[in-house]
Symmetry: C2
Subunit: 345 residues, 2 copies
DNA sequence: TTGTATGCGTTATCAG
DNA sequence: CTGATAACGCATACAA
């Protein structure tokens, strides 16, 4: 039918030059009169600028990428919301890419994003060791990148993380206050830095009260997924209980554990108290509600997005390398629910 | 440092014209010799085409949009995976936009997508009545659009949906087989077409066995969220139980109901059997596991994506309006778990 | 304050 | 099979 109007169409109809229209849209100097005239014409034509042309001209993509371990992760929806909230301010699109699609890990998609500079910047959630190649590629390509809650020690990268150590201590205080003395811990993957810090915080917190965790009461589930929590619980609960509370490496594991406990008719928290980390929405829905330490995931998403924009901007400004890596740490907050209680005396 | 190589850089270094390089990349006729030469140069330079320029030239956006009610919906992750899987085949980016960000409904983002033709096509998940303006805008702008599991009657639109009626009947058969005779139903929003169909299927299925649901045993929770299920359950369970089974409008509602039941010490399924619809992952994790009817969400995502591409393609080909609206319906499959059992005699 | 000219990196339409 | 050349729609430096 009628072709989509271009900046030229508008210019003609308003009797000005295309560049004036451009200036109008970019908020540059335009006389009040023509400004009014243009606003009229634009409304009349229903004109809007072409993102593609704009991006080409500006030498950017107008799009940031978010790579997430697996959309299955109950964790990431909140993060996404935070990112979207922040994004809605800027003129940027959110492009999504899962690292683990049909059960198999495949980073080739994100890899191409980096190499083809398909995005102006990248946010990687919960990066692990296996994401290293991606980080390196981004560094090489000087693609701005922000890591959210990386589960490994990262230097030279912008990072938004939580204070896992403090979180561990918070759990310690909570359990001690309830009267627990024999406590177990079951972390995620063997080399998870998060689990390590959480455990360390837990131990230090307990130590202040003269309580220690026996090394035989420390386990790792091999992954952070609920399934791993189930498998662990099946083994753990088959043996006689020697602890009155167990701290799981994250909420998914804790829910898996709770499921098995309930299935086995083990009362929670009567027989054993359970706690997790993260505060995924499901924890509040279950009965008993899962005691956990909340990560402000939405805030973290916003923050990550904001930092990413800063980096992108600063890179545009001066062509020099930006080496002042920013690292921001959020506090975690204990959320006490019904899955923890006084131990049976 | 070194500027990003353009198609011209490659052409120069290979001693050919830019257009030849373009042809090379698009798989058009290029002599074997120059083909080899180019492949060499490209590898050497690490060249890759600019998406932005490409899209501008092709007159497309290279990006499809996915609008989802709320990323909180436990439903949509699977859908997303399906879409991503299909997308990875084509050279398209997935742009995300939540209709409900900070608790408030706000379709302005997607609206702009449509009006500015920010995307080449749109997938809307679980559209309700309130999405009507979006649909109309898309129609007006002739923007290809596919609806996934819309909760209202939609004509003149491409739709991927489930057979909710059959799902209701499947539940009926299941409950009857277990020996239930007194059954309640609690749907989602008042005007939900999904709930209506599910209920109708349930009733017809039961009728075949001479069982009917009393109108006083039919409720609606006002929404499809777990919270609504909780509130409903609190009222429902406060009264003496006259039914041995309750069919909830979806899984989220069912889980909310189960939570309250467990909290109140009501045995499931001993005292009451519970079932839902959708088969969200959480249903399998809970104990007792939630009996439900599975929607093949991933498949639906793939399908929606495929259809969308077809429409986009056919629209490019001939400039005429494409009015043969495609509607594809997937079967739902009963997943029997522990939340349903024989009624106490 | 506004108009002119040029560039952004590809693709497509022609000739050759 | 290949090489010029003109779009694609906008932004910006420069001149007026």
């Amino acid at each position: 039918m009628k072709q989509k109007p271009t900046i030229e169409t508008v210019a003609e109809k308003a009797g000005v030059a295309p560049s004036t229209v451009s200036r109008y849209f970019n908020g540059h100097y335009v006389s009040k009169a023509t400004k009014a005239r243009l606003s009229e014409v634009v409304a009349e034509l229903g004109y809007s600028r072409s993102w593609t042309a704009r991006n080409l001209s500006l030498g950017r993509r107008g799009c940031i990428g978010v790579a997430v371990d697996s959309s299955h992760d109950l964790w990431f929806t909140e993060l996404l919301v935070g990112i979207e909230e922040e994004l809605s301010t800027h003129e940027m699109t959110l492009a999504l890419n899962s690292l683990e699609l049909s059960g198999r890990y495949d980073n080739s998609g994100v890899f191409r994003w980096i190499q083809e500079r398909h995005v102006d910047g990248l946010i990687i959630a919960k990066s692990q060791r296996r994401e290293r190649p991606l980080l390196n590629a981004a560094m090489d390509g000087r693609l701005p990148i922000v890591l959210v809650a990386p589960d490994e020690a990262i230097a030279h990268a912008h990072v938004v993380r939580c204070d896992n150590y403090a979180a561990g201590r918070a759990v310690a205080e909570h359990l001690v206050a309830l009267g627990h003395k024999k406590i177990a811990f079951a972390g995620g993957p063997q080399h998870s830095v998060d689990s390590k810090h959480r455990l360390q915080g837990l131990r230090d917190g307990l130590a202040r009260h003269g309580i220690s965790i026996k090394s035989t009461d420390i386990f790792s589930c091999g992954s952070y997924e609920a399934k791993a929590g189930i498998e662990f619980a099946q083994e753990f609960l088959a043996k006689p209980l020697v602890t009155t509370a167990i701290v799981m490496g994250n909420d998914a594991l804790a829910l898996g554990f709770m499921r098995v406990a309930q299935q086995s008719g083990i009362r929670i928290p009567g027989k054993i108290s359970i706690s997790g980390f993260d505060n995924i929405p499901e924890g509040a829905l279950w009965w008993p509600g899962l005691t956990t330490v909340a990560q402000p995931m939405r805030e973290m998403g916003r923050s990550a997005c904001r930092i990413l924009f800063e980096v992108i901007e600063s890179q545009r400004q001066r062509e020099q390398i930006q080496d002042a890596r920013e690292s921001i740490q959020f506090p975690m907050e204990l959320v006490a629910r019904e899955s923890t209680g006084r131990p049976a005396s």
